[in-house]
Amino acid sequence: MDEDSEGDRFSDAVRLLLLIAAVGEPLDEVALRHAPEGAVAVVRSEGRLQKLDFWLRNPDYLADELLNDYERVPEAISLELAGEILDSDEPEIACFPMLRYLFGAFEYIDRAMSVLVAPRLVRLTHGRTPAGKPLVSYYLTAKGRAVADQATANCPELAWFTRRAVLVRSLAESTGHTVHALRRRQYLQRDYAETPLNELIPSIAERARERLARLRATAATGSAA
């Protein structure tokens, strides 16, 4: 971002593409009738996309949420996935810090999205929610799916986005797909909630690592018992 804003635009665009490809809901027949031509999946609402993008851009928060899931439902896979992130330097080197805005993590994505819309990798529709609020839907086209698959398959640097986007999707599924459910869950993060408006949301990597250590110790004690 600092050195080549043009490059960052493409970088942000490919991250969003891979995120939409990972978390987009497949279109059934009814949805296909109302979807733009060539659409294969959809992410409804910019707010939801922003919240999911927050977890993709902040591996420490993603790992902390996995630990929350583990505490709710102590499945070893949650602890392992969180450990995969926190045992590495991923929270420090793979993060893209975001600003906190009125309704949580937020960043203007129009320029990055235009990179996806112009070659019809993603198509946008503007509608209204049943409550009458504006609603933007992000449709992944078949072309977009193909480019995403190609990036995941051929570019190790980009494949990481897909792997983490899959984790993000599983979190979203356990949380609920509405933007409100996601925002509520993210607000449960103390550091997130206490961040002043328009300031970078701070890292919680160290705290998450300490928490991981405690949970591992507890798990070890439980196993031994």
Binding site: M1, E3, D4, E6, G7, D8, F10, S11, A13, V14, R15, D89, E92, I93, A94, C95, M113, S114, V115, L116, V117, A118, P119, R120, L121, R123, L124, V147, Q150, A151, C155, E157, L158
Partner: protein
């Protein structure tokens, strides 16, 4: 120089003179302090003391006699001059009558006149008298033996009193001045006589009966006040065995004080009170000191168990200290381990901080490289795609506009000229390579310091272990029974030191800070104010000044008195008396045949004559100096009882008769001497029942 020519300082100058001898005081202070002791130094006025008995009347019932039981009444007219109560037989009642007279004049029977077998006979005694010109009739009614009721009558003339029947209390010009219930005679008559004769009591400081002596030989004493009953020894005399020249006791130099009093030496009474006050103050001081010493001793005794316990605790501590392991070396080891631990901690902290900095640098390099690669890949992936629609309106971009972009280098979406930005693969590769090199370098630096950090961690852990081991070793020694015993013994010593310091109020054995606290805290036992010795100094100065005056006047009078005593004693036929030299200390300093002889070694008869000579001497010396300081009454029981030589008896009795002829003098004697009628006129001899040797 005569008494009248000796100047006596007036009251104010006397107070000033005392104040001058007591620095820091003034006349008012002296006056105030002396007044606090009931002493007022009023300028003495000349006295005129006179006591004359005009009538003695007695009633009673005789019991236990051989042949003479029954009631009796005796009425004896008297007056100035010499009188003799005489009988040719012993036990005729002469002394009993004199005892009765002494009782009514003194308020209590004069012991030396007392005849135990007759005192209960008397039921009523009356004396009509003149006291310094005041007529009075004293009536004693003995409803209870020894405890008469008293009635004091006065009149304008003594004749009005004499005219009254024996028991009558009403008459022309007669009134009852005072009465006293049984047992109150002495107080009433004492007060009446002192007041009428212008006498003040004499104070004597006398040891309390059976009081033990203290270490300095002092015995607890108390003030004895001598009034008219004691002064009566200068009135009543007999041939007794008393070794005292004058008065009932020699304590407080009472004999010489009586002489000074009846010679009108100024401030005699005041001097006795000053002396007593000083001794009282001294005794109070001694008692205070004694109490303080006793308190100290008591405290010491109270604290003795503490001292013994402290000594025992110290011995126990010394024994424990000898047994306990030496932990000084262990302390040194622990201290060294502590220093090493601090050094290791500082080194580790410094290394960890540097490692943290290198890690941050490596992470930044890694993040930069990662983003650069992602960015490069994204550009390659997306940059090559042809635009198909407008992101704004979603209209399809037609081939014409795409061709224009290729031919005219204008954006197929917005038609703006495209920047001449060509992606240089080599430059891009070089940029990535540079980032990779930077990452390698920072990784290398971090890795290098990893070893240093691990070493620092190991050192730190070793230092912690060393410190823990040293602390454990010291703790083992500290918790060893010998050590705990020593610590307990030390605590015991400290507790006992503190307890002893509090109990004794001394902080010598305590640490300075604690000791200062203790000694700065006022001890209620030591909080009494410093004694103010102003009172002592004023009393001492007053005693000196007044004593000087008394001594000066006395020394002026004593030579004359000595001369008179010697003259009268010889007239009374005292054998071989060659010199008398009364001292201010009360010694007679008599010489017989030129040799000193103690008064006690003189025969009883001569001692009586010496007493008579002394009293008569006081009267004559006083008269010579124009004063009547002695009342002039002499009651003498059997003055020649032991006299063997008839000439001497005659001489003595004649001298007494002649003494009674002095102005203002009345002498009443008892005697069995047959020569009495040769010396006394018949009307001055009372022989009692006619044709009967008994007086009544």
């Amino acid at each position: 120089m005569t008494l009248m020519t000796i100047p006596t300082p007036d009251e104010d100058s006397l107070y000033r003179r005392i104040a001058d001898k007591a620095p820091g005081t003034d006349a008012d202070t002296v006056r105030e302090i002396l007044a606090g002791h009931g002493i007022t130094l009023n300028t003495p006025l000349p006295s005129r003391r006179e006591l004359v008995v005009h009538r003695l009347y007695c009633e009673g019932t005789k019991t236990g006699t051989d042949d003479n039981d029954g009631t009796f009444a005796v009425d004896i007219p008297l007056g100035p001059g010499a009188w003799a109560l005489t009988s040719t037989h012993n036990s005729a009642g002469k002394s009993s009558l004199l005892w009765a007279l002494s009782y009514v004049l003194r308020g209590d029977g004069f012991g030396a006149f007392q005849r135990k077998d007759t005192i209960d006979w008397f039921t009523y005694i009356r004396a009509d008298i003149e006291v310094s010109g005041v007529p009075a009739s004293i009536r004693l009614t003995f409803d209870t033996p020894g405890k008469p009721t008293t009635r004091l009558l006065t009149a304008q003339t003594v004749e009005q009193l004499q005219a009254l029947d024996p028991h009558a209390v009403d008459g022309d010009g007669v009134r009852t001045a005072a009465t006293a219930p049984p047992g109150g005679a002495k107080d009433l008559i004492d007060r009446f006589m002192l007041e009428r004769l212008g006498l003040r009591p004499i104070s004597v400081w006398s040891a309390e009966k059976n009081a033990p002596k203290d270490a300095d030989g002092h015995r607890d004493s108390a003030e004895q006040v001598h009034g008219w009953a004691s002064y009566f020894y200068a009135v009543a005399m007999n041939n007794g065995n008393s070794n005292i020249l004058l008065g009932p006791t020699t304590t407080g130099q009472l004999p010489v004080r009586l002489m000074q009093l009846f010679l009108d030496v100024p401030y005699t009474s005041e001097l006795t009170y000053l002396t007593t006050a000083r001794k009282q103050v001294d005794q109070n001081d001694r008692r205070t000191q004694r109490r303080a010493a006793e308190d100290t001793q008591a405290r010491r005794q109270q604290t003795e168990p503490l001292r013994q316990a402290l000594a025992a605790a110290r011995e126990r501590l010394a024994a424990c200290e000898a047994r306990r392991p030496d932990h000084a070396a262990l302390l040194t080891d622990l201290q060294a381990a502590g220093h090493a631990l601090v050094t290791a901690q500082e080194h580790h902290q410094d290394t960890a901080e540097r490692h943290g900095t290198l890690r941050k640098m490596r992470l930044k390099d890694e993040r930069d490289l990662r983003r650069a690669r992602q960015s490069s890949a994204a550009r390659l992936l997306l940059g090559a795609l042809q635009p198909e629609a407008c992101p704004r309106c979603d209209h399809t971009i037609d081939d014409t506009r795409r061709a224009t972009e290729d031919t005219d280098h204008r954006c197929s979406l917005c038609t703006h000229p495209l920047a001449e930005v060509e992606v240089d693969p080599e430059a891009e590769a070089a940029r990535l390579a540079a980032l990779e090199e930077r990452l390698k370098a920072s990784t290398r630096a971090e890795t290098t310091l990893d070893a240093g950090l691990r070493t620092a961690e190991v050192h730190l852990e070793h230092a912690r272990e060393d410190y823990r081991c040293a602390a454990d070793r010291l703790e083992q020694v500290r918790t060893h029974p010998h050590t705990t015993d020593a610590e307990q013994a030390r605590r015991d010593v400290h507790h006992l030191q503190g307890a002893l310091a509090v109990a004794t109020g001394t902080a010598a054995e305590l640490p300075a800070a604690v000791g200062h606290y203790l000694t700065d805290t006022p001890d209620p036992r030591q909080s009494e104010d410093e004694p103010d010795d102003t009172e002592d100094r004023v009393l001492a100065a007053a005693a000196t000044v007044v004593g000087d005056i008394v001594a000066k006047h006395s020394r002026t009078l004593l030579p004359d008195l000595n001369t008179e005593i010697l003259r009268i004693a010889k007239a009374l036929a005292v054998d071989n008396l060659t010199d008398v030299n009364l001292s201010l200390g009360g010694q007679v300093n008599a010489q017989k045949s030129g040799k000193k002889i103690a008064f006690a070694d003189i025969s009883p008869t001569d001692r009586l004559k010496m007493r008579i000579a002394t009293v008569v001497g006081m009267i004559t010396v006083g008269r010579k100096h124009g004063i009547m300081s002695h009342p002039g009454l002499l009651l003498i029981d059997a003055p020649t009882a032991e006299e063997l030589v008839p000439e001497a008896t005659y001489q003595a009795l004649k001298t007494l008769y002649e003494t009674g002829g002095m102005p203002g003098v009345q002498v009443i004697i008892t005697s069995i001497e047959p020569v009495i009628p040769d010396i006394f006129p018949p009307h001055r001899i009372h022989t009692g029942i006619p044709e009967n040797p008994r007086m009544f």
